[in-house]
Each structure stands twice: as structure tokens, then as C-alpha cells.
Amino acid sequence: MTRLLDVENLTLQFDTDEGRITAVDGVSFSLEQGEVLGLVGESGSGKSVTAKSLMKLNPGNAIYGPQTRIALHLDDGSVDIMSLRTSSELQLVRGGAISMIFQEPMASFAPAITIGKQMVEQLLIHTDMSKKQARELSIEMLARVGISDASRRFDQYAFELSGGMRQRAMIAMALSTRPRLLIADEPTTALDVTIQAQVIELMKDLVAEFGMAIIFITHDLGVIAQTADTVAVMYLGRLVERGPVREVLRSPGHPYTRGLLEALPDLEDLDRPLTPVPGDIPSPLERPSGCVFHTRCQVAIEGLCRREVPQFVDLDEHHRAACHLVARERGAA
């Protein structure tokens, strides 16, 4: 395996009218080439901003922590993302080495420009193709993602396509520059299960063909089970568990991950009651001390969890969780 990405101590705050909020707090992880990482967690847990940080795509009110290091390892050397300043430096990464697709494909396409024109423009920025080559590749990519009649679609606007087709066109555009890393932020959440199954299938085929790594952000653990090699669980800006997909889904270590799985309806067991994670996710303005999950954790350790931030402990070779209880059980074993 070859390392593609190292994220160390990513901390991100936003200046808002209500004060400074911490959206990401000391998140570290790495990614191998070709790895599909599923990033899960409740809304507001910091998934999207973590992903956007990899391209420094957060808006002007974002403040990165001084300890934050993000290294992207490419064939011709490593890029220190945090040191990129100018838009031309960032352009090399955005839409080049890293592409991103969104839940709402309309966000990726300018409404007044045809799909084809946008695809060609992006290729002209990131490759040394001629206009003609860029056009040919774009049409080929549209056909590759299952859009029939691709040369006609090339000249259409995004609003003229159905939801499923738009999603495919967005994937085609994101992959045409052959990125090393694709970030997919809830790409199937707005789709019907039938179309979702088609898009998942397509993404799997493309990973096999192009060999890029994917960060797949979703709140749907079924989608994770079907696509990811590894899973990272976030809660209130912190990474709380990380491991291979089978281990995290079958033997979750962190109480929050367990809570998520118990809240989920499972078709295999219709009699099992749905157990919500008690309480609500706290506001980022009032982040709990110690373990950020302690206000909702039913197995919190009196006097400890409220005061001390838990460190990661190994459950298995690649499976880790940040929890005092897990640490205690491990220590005892």
C-alpha cells in the first residue's frame, strides 16, 4: 500500500456572529491510494468541513489551527496543503488531484453554461489537452457513466437532466481529470434507492478502473457497508472511531457508534425496537468538556469522562476508538 494523504491535528474554527465555534477538533487520519473511506456522523459533526479542508475550500471566516498539517503525496512529491495560499496554487489541487461531488449536483454546475463547456474548461485548466481532445474525453466520460446519447447531453444544461442523470454527469466531470482522491459528500442522499444502487455500482466500477481513493461522506450506514473499505466516525468535531468496515459495523467499540447502529432500522430483524441515542447533539458553541459525547453517553464513567479527553486506544490492528471505557476494558484484559 502507498500512502496518499496524511492529516495531522486538523483543527478548524469559524468566526460567527454568535462567537467562535470549533467545527473540527484535532482530527488525524491517513488514507492509502485506492482506499475507500466512509466518513459518518450526525449532521453538524464536521464531516463536510473536514473534507473541504483537504482542498482548503472553507470560506473566509475559517481559521485553521496552527498545528494542522495536511500532506498529499503525489507521484512528483508531496504537497503541503496548508501552505498553499494563492488561488493558482490551490487550483492545482482543487479539481485536479482532488475532486469533489456533492449531494445537490446543481451546486457543481453553473446554471447558464452547458455541461460540456464546463467539463472542457476544467480539463483545459488541469491538463495540457487541446480543446478537441477535451471534448472527446468529456463525451467519452459521459458515456462511461451510463448517460446514453452523450454527445447530445454534452450540449445540454444541468436543469435539463433528471436527478439521477445529473449525479452521473457530476461524477463524469469530477473524474475526467483523473483525480487521485475523490470526495463524495452525500452523493446519493437525495436519490431514490434504485438510482442510488446504480450510482454506487458506477462508483465501484470507476474505483476499480481508475484506482483513485474516495472519501465517501454519508449518514447512511448501509451505503457505507456497500462501498467502504474503512470507516471513520465523527462526533461534534472529533474523530471517535476508525477501522475496517467489517469490524466497525460488526463490533463497534465507541458507545456513539454502537448507538448509531442501534438507532438504525434493520430489515433482518423487524422486531428489534429502534433505540435512539438519547438527547440532542450539543451546539458547537457549548462543546462539552472532556469526552464530547459524555452528555449523551449511557456508560460514561463518573468523574472521568466529563473531565478528560479520551485518547485513541487500539481494539485491533487497524481498529481504534477514543473512549475511556474502551481503554479501561482493554487495560483490564
Binding site: T194, L249, G259, L260, L264, P265, L267, L270
Partner: protein
Amino acid sequence: MSERALITTRNLSVHYPLRGGLIGPRQVVRAVEGVSIEIARGSFFGLVGESGSGKTTLGRALLRAAPITRGEVIYDDGEVEYDLAAIDRAALKDYRTRAQLIFQDPYAALSPRMTVRDIIAEPLEVMGLTKTRAETDERVREIAARCRLNLEHLRRFPHAFSGGQRQRISIARALVSRPRFVVADEAVAALDVSIQADVLNLLKDIQRDMGLTFLFISHDLSVVAHVCDHVAVMYLGRLVESAPTRELFAAPRHPYTKALLSAIPSLDPDDRGRAQKLEGEIPSPTDPPPGCKFHTRCPFATDICRREEPRLSQQGSAHDVACHRWQELAEGGARA
């Protein structure tokens, strides 16, 4: 069964005229076409199908909020009986207190300038159901408590609440008039799983305690499997299958239902690639294909499917299906 139905529709159609097009034949969107269902009193009735299949439109027609182009909708709660296609104004006013809607989006549905108390009280005031402020307050407090909102919550404005709390406010508002029939259209779709479980449990508890009947519209089949006792499947405005939940999930008969169920992503990572993939997308309801509406995507389509629209079988059981070939397919003899 039929004397215990709260809602009975017979051949219900909802068509919307398309704007423009002065020349040529006038086009209509056949959002709902010839749907006959019975929703038993006290049931949690699920409605599923892809986007654009007509779920919301059917739900709105049952609330008399979409035009009833053809067919009948009978509401009968034991106290009153209404024929919704021919209902007069006074009866409609009464019906509005008996049938309510819970929206999908807990963020858009609540006015930001009203306190939670006023939001919940509004339907009582608009419908004139209470005489004094004290009586209104009493009703609001009672339903708020049931939805796990306390007095402190009632004084606040909705922006200060999380998604799950907002949905509980919407639920309290829908239930304050003490309806018998509630349409919940994607009521948990915008919520995180941890909150979704909480809201689903609340809906189930309320349904049981207050003897309500729910039409639960959802695109999430796992959720439907967990909360509904009966499920109807729609495709391009038509009802294609309707059965008790367990039966539908254990032994689906319609090829479309089978495809929908197999598209649900399994929680088991070793169960990948099991889905029988459904190709293509739902056709436009302005230009539906002839014969069986599903034939353009059905792996089992034959000549008759392309010519003749299958009727909903009424097997005398509660499991109905509209497919020419379902029996043959169930016997396992048919080839794609």
C-alpha cells in the same frame, strides 16, 4: 375489513393540466391514476415508490388538498362519513379538524417569528376549536407534553431547536386539533438516524394511545418495514402492490417491488453486489408508456405487458398485485 376502513378510495385519479401549449392536444400530468385502497382504522399505512410516483399527490388528495379528478374517496370514522369528491364547505371545515398533515422539512415548516406555544395553538384558533385562552393553553400543554416538549420550550422560538425537536413541534401542531387521520409525508427523511428513531417511536406511541390512523409516506423502505403494518407500492401514479408489511417484505409479488427491496443497501459488508439492479429511470407521467407502466424497465416484460395494463388482482386476501405474470413468476417458471 371494509366496514372498518377509515379511508376508502375507488378508482381515484388526480390529473394536473400542463400550462402552455395552446396548439395541439391539451396535456395533463396523470399524477395519480385509478387508485383503489382501503386504509383500516387505527393502522399505520405505508406508501412507497420512487420520486414522482404520486405518493404526495395521493396523500394530498386524501386530505382534500389536491383536486380529485375522477373516482371516490370515502372517509368514515364511525362518527361522520364524507364523500370527499362531493363534500360541501361546512363538512370540509369539519374534515380539516379530523385530517392533518405532518411535513417533511422541520426547518421550513415553522414560522420563525412565533413562539412554539403560538405555533402549536394556531390551528385551534384558526379552526375556532377552543373558546378561551385558558382552554387553548390547556390543549397546547397537553399535546406538547405528549410530544415531550416542556413549558420552557413553549416560550421559545423555533430557531433555537434542533431538527428532532422541531419535528416534535410540527407533530404537536398537527395533532392539537385531535385529528383521526394523519398524513406524514417524509416526516423523518430530513433527520439523522439517532433522531429519526426517537421521532418514529413517538409517532407509534401517539398512534397507539390516541387511536390515530396514519398514512406514512416514505422513500426509506427499512423505516417503513419497522413502523407500518400495511404497505402500498406506487409506480407512475398507479398502485402496483399492497400487502401487510411482513408479507410484502418476505414475499413481494410485483417485479417493481422486488427491485425496490433489493436496492436497499444491506448493512452487511459481505452482502455486496446482491442487488438485482433496476435499469433506467421512472418515465414522465405526461407521457406514460402503454400497457404496464413498468414494462420499460421490467426484466420480465412480454407482449401482453406492452399492450395491456394489468389490473390490480383482488385475491380475496389482503395482498393485491397488478402484474400479468406474478403467479407465473412466483412459481419460478418464468424466464426474463
